[in-house]
């Protein structure tokens, strides 16, 4: 039902469903539970009405049934009446079809008129009259109830003790003649007419242009002092106004973050959720600040209920995407017919399709978040708790999707944001770790080249050369300077053109040639593209390894680099020629006649040492998950094969 109680219909099974175009057994069965709920809601007042009808047959003037206004109205709009002064009482409402201006007079005997609920008047049935009495208590107990607020989509004229207080639109006997009024309208009762005692309220009304397709429509009539009525409206406007602003900002912030910072689907969904919610709340608040024609009301409600359903769908989509549920695309597609079925099964013309979809989606989100928590996904618990609290709140009061919807949805919304925040935090930590790893790799690259073994041995060689062959020493120093210049250029880079890498390798080989007194050379096969990007010191490290572990053959230490390209991948074959040094073959100090405990065959990984670890870390840094590295002893030396997939990067030659 709608929160204002302006226009609605009883659920299926009620006596007023005659105009429903499709009433089939399946539908009735499916709604049985809901019918029971709604029937129970109004059972009390129906009993009262039956009693009134029963007394109608007696010739005597039927007794009035006085109740506090709050007792006349159904639960979901009672809050409007609970604030009315306790000294005020309404009698039962009486209804008559037809038109007679005398019916406005307080003295008119309406005992034979049908007793109806004021929110259950037949729609589009010409001019009707509704009469009821207001009883006021003694003077001096609070301000006089000199104001009337009526919320309805019907056109009407309002009479108080026979005096016309005003009208909203123009009631008429045909749709063409009728002029729709305002959804909410306020009237003042002259002070002379609101003394203690009974007053007769008569309303002449028609509803051709009410917009609602339901068979009945109704009126909500509040009698109180005007200030109280105004403050009630402001209170009503407060929450949607606040919610609209909050949701709009969250939605906008999410979309800005999505477009500028991180293009992730969850931010987009969160942005959609915020804006859908904000739009809904704006529509809700709009009614209280800017009065609009009654015939707008139905389309507005349709939009609002659609937005509620949309928020449900976005919520379940968010949870599925956020926790990366397997086959989430199919799950969402599969949910579409479920939502359609839910909408179809919803009580007709009550605008509850949206809230039903929302409830189902919330249940689905809870299942998914629970699954994520079970799988120990990070940030799952805030989502579980938030969605669960929202589900419980919704279960308590399922049908008010307007006034309190924001409060019900808030826990789930907060849970989702918290979950996203946890994920963002994790990602930032990961990014930081990646950056840290990158700087560690840079440091490692520099350390490799200033490490004592390389640098101090080179310096020791230079010292000996200076004393023995000064010219060679100058050459060696120049080569060393050359290597360090290249190194300084490439050390900070994640990827460098292969040409620079080869330059680095050749400078190193020149140094080693002078140091080892063997000819060290690197041959590059024609398939090599020097613009290819590779991590710095990739092949340099392989050369170092080769120089350490292989012995030169015939005074030559030779290396060879070749490349093969297939669609989207490049495969480097690096060959280090030479004989394995004895350290590789026999890790014992045989000359000293010592037999060491047998060395267990170590897996290749642990034999790799820092060199190959560096290569692997570099490859993973630049080509995460898209590389492979394999090494094997081949005839004549050691071959290392590095394959990188989906390479698109090209550097400048």
């Amino acid at each position: 039902m709608n929160g204002s109680g302006i226009a609605w219909t009883r659920a299926a099974g009620g006596g007023t469903l005659g105009g429903v175009p499709r009433v089939d057994l399946l539908r009735l069965l499916a709604l049985a539970a809901l019918s029971a709920l709604v029937a129970g809601d109004s059972a009390g007042s129906e009993a009262g009405a039956r009693a009134a009808v029963a007394s109608e047959v007696s010739p005597a003037r039927s007794p009035r049934i006085w109740k506090r206004p709050v007792e006349w109205y159904p639960g979901y709009i009672r809050r409007w009446f609970s604030a009315l002064p306790p000294r005020l009482q309404y009698s039962e409402s009486r209804f008559h079809h037809g038109d007679d201006e005398r019916w406005a007079q307080p003295g008119w005997n309406d005992d034979q008129w049908a007793v109806v609920e004021p929110w259950d008047l037949p729609a589009r049935a010409g001019i009707d009259w509704l009469r009821f009495r207001v009883r006021m208590g003694a003077k001096g107990s609070g301000p006089p109830p000199g104001g009337i607020m009526i919320s309805t989509v019907r056109a009407y004229e309002l009479f108080w003790d026979g005096v016309q207080l005003g009208r909203s639109g123009v009631p008429a006997n045909s749709a063409a003649a009728e002029v729709p009024g305002q959804v909410d309208d306020w009237f003042s009762v002259p002070a002379s007419l609101c003394g203690p005692g009974e007053h007769v309220v008569a309303i002449r009304t028609s509803s051709y242009r009410c917009g609602f397709p339901a068979a009945t429509s109704g009126l909500r009539i509040l009698v109180d002092d005007p200030a109280t009525l105004r403050s009630m409206v402001l209170r009503e406007a407060f929450l949607p106004t606040v919610a609209a602003g909050a949701l709009f900002m969250i939605g906008l912030a999410s979309l800005i973050m999505w477009s500028l910072a991180a293009r992730r689907a969850t931010l987009l969904l969160l942005g959609g959720l915020g804006l859908a919610g904000a739009t809904m709340q704006v529509l809700q608040a709009f009614r209280w600040f800017f009065v609009y024609p009654a015939d707008w009301h139905y389309p507005v409600l349709v939009v609002m209920t659609s937005l509620v359903g949309l928020q449900g769908i976005l919520t379940v989509a968010f949870v599925l995407v956020h926790f990366q549920a397997p086959r989430r695309g199919w799950l969402l597609v599969g949910l579409a017919p479920v939502f359609a079925l839910v909408a179809w099964l919803s009580p007709e013309r009550q605008n509850l399709e949206g809230v039903r979809i929302f409830a189902v989606a919330l249940g689905g989100s809870l299942v998914c978040a629970g699954w994520a928590a079970w799988r120990r996904r990070r940030g799952a618990w805030p989502a579980v708790v938030g969605v669960a609290v929202s589900t419980v709140l919704l279960a308590f009061e399922a049908e008010d999707y307007r006034a309190s919807f924001f409060l019900k949805f808030l826990p789930a919304f907060v849970g989702m944001i918290a979950s996203l925040a946890v994920q963002l935090h994790d990602e930032r930590k990961h990014a930081l770790a990646v950056r840290l790893a990158a700087s560690r790799l840079e440091l490692e690259l520099l350390k490799k080249n200033v490490q004592p073994h390389f640098l101090l041995n080179t310096l020791a060689t230079i010292i000996e050369m200076i004393e023995q062959e000064p010219k060679l020493a100058v050459g060696l120093i120049e080569e060393l300077a050359h290597e360090f210049r290249i190194l300084a250029r490439v050390a900070g880079e994640k990827l460098i053109p292969l040409g620079h890498e080869l330059e680095l390798c050749r400078a190193h080989l020149a140094i080693m040639s002078l140091r080892k007194r063997v000819r060290c050379s690197l041959e590059v096969a024609p398939g090599i593209d020097e613009r290819d990007l590779v991590p710095p010191a990739l092949f340099h490290t392989l050369i170092e390894n080769g120089l350490t572990h292989l012995l030169p053959r015939d005074g030559v230490q030779r290396f060879e680099l070749g490349a093969a390209r297939k669609a989207g991948r490049v495969c480097y074959m690096f060959l280090a020629f030479g004989d394995p040094s004895d350290r590789e073959r026999e890790p014992t100090f045989a000359p000293l006649n010592v037999t060491l405990p047998p060395v267990p065959a170590k897996p290749a990984a642990s034999r790799e040492g820092t060199g190959l670890r560096y290569i692997k870390a570099r490859l993973e840094e630049s080509f995460p998950g898209r590389w492979s590295l394999a090494g094997e002893m081949v005839a004549g030396g050691w071959q290392t094969v590095i394959e990188v997939k989906n390479r698109t990067e090209r550097g400048n030659p």
Binding site: L459, I462, E464, R515, D582, E586, P591
Partner: protein
């Protein structure tokens, strides 16, 4: 003095050889070089040596094993390496010296002095003695050694628990490696001074040191007076 150089940088090996010749002069009986350990093996099979100048990268298990095997030999070991951060570890295992690269002639001379001079001592940082046992190298903590008894070309380590371990080095070479707390009391005995309870001079000019566990060891006549003073 017979020296073996294991160094795979030809110019550095050349420099070591040149300096050895210059420093040791006539004391140098033979000097040989090897760039690889397998070559060194062949050299050692030809004839024994007194000093091994070893370029050793101690990183990893192989390096440690080589170091242990080396210090368990009958000769002194001096490491010549660029990896100075490994010096402490090398000393713990009983190398005579650790010469960081690049090195000057003076630095090498001081290392050779430790080996060649009579009272030459290692830095005293040794914590282990490597002994060969059933074809394996075992490490003996020096803290557990009570005294060392010379036996010709070998020496016997007597541990606090009474166990005895045979070491390939001579008593002189071992004494050079042992920390200052060890005292040469006899041509055949080096004892942990803190383990000595009393010195006895009995009739028949027999001098003895009584250890806290009751063991009595002979004390050289020439050493007795000096030790008596030291004992206070």
């Amino acid at each position: 003095m017979r020296v073996l150089i294991v160094e795979d940088e030809p110019l550095i090996a050349q420099r070591l050889e040149r300096f050895c010749r210059e420093i040791l002069g006539e004391k140098l009986e033979s000097i040989r070089g090897a760039t690889l350990l397998s070559e060194a093996s062949a050299r050692l099979d030809e004839s024994p040596i007194d000093l091994l100048l070893l370029d050793l990268n101690l990183h990893g298990r192989d390096g440690m094993e080589l170091l242990q095997a080396s210090v368990a030999g009958s000769f002194h070991t001096v490491i010549v390496s660029a990896n100075t951060e490994q010096a402490l570890r090398a000393f713990e295992f009983g190398v005579m010296d650790f010469v960081p690269k690049p090195f000057s002639k003076e630095r090498l001379a001081s290392a050779l002095a430790r080996v060649t001079e009579r009272d030459g001592r290692a830095a005293g940082a040794a914590k282990f003695l490597a002994v060969k046992k059933y074809g394996k190298v075992e490490l003996v903590e020096i803290d557990r050694v009570l005294y060392v008894e010379g036996a010709g070309a070998y020496a016997e380590l007597v541990l606090a628990d009474g166990r005895r371990e045979l070491h390939d080095k001579t008593l002189e070479k071992l004494h050079a490696l042992l920390p200052p707390g060890f005292e040469r009391i006899h041509k055949s005995f080096v004892v942990r001074w803190s383990a000595v309870k009393a010195l006895h001079a009995s009739e028949g000019s027999r001098h003895e040191a009584e250890l806290r566990n009751g063991t009595r060891l002979p004390v050289g006549r020439t050493r007795y007076k000096e030790l008596r003073e030291k004992f206070g």
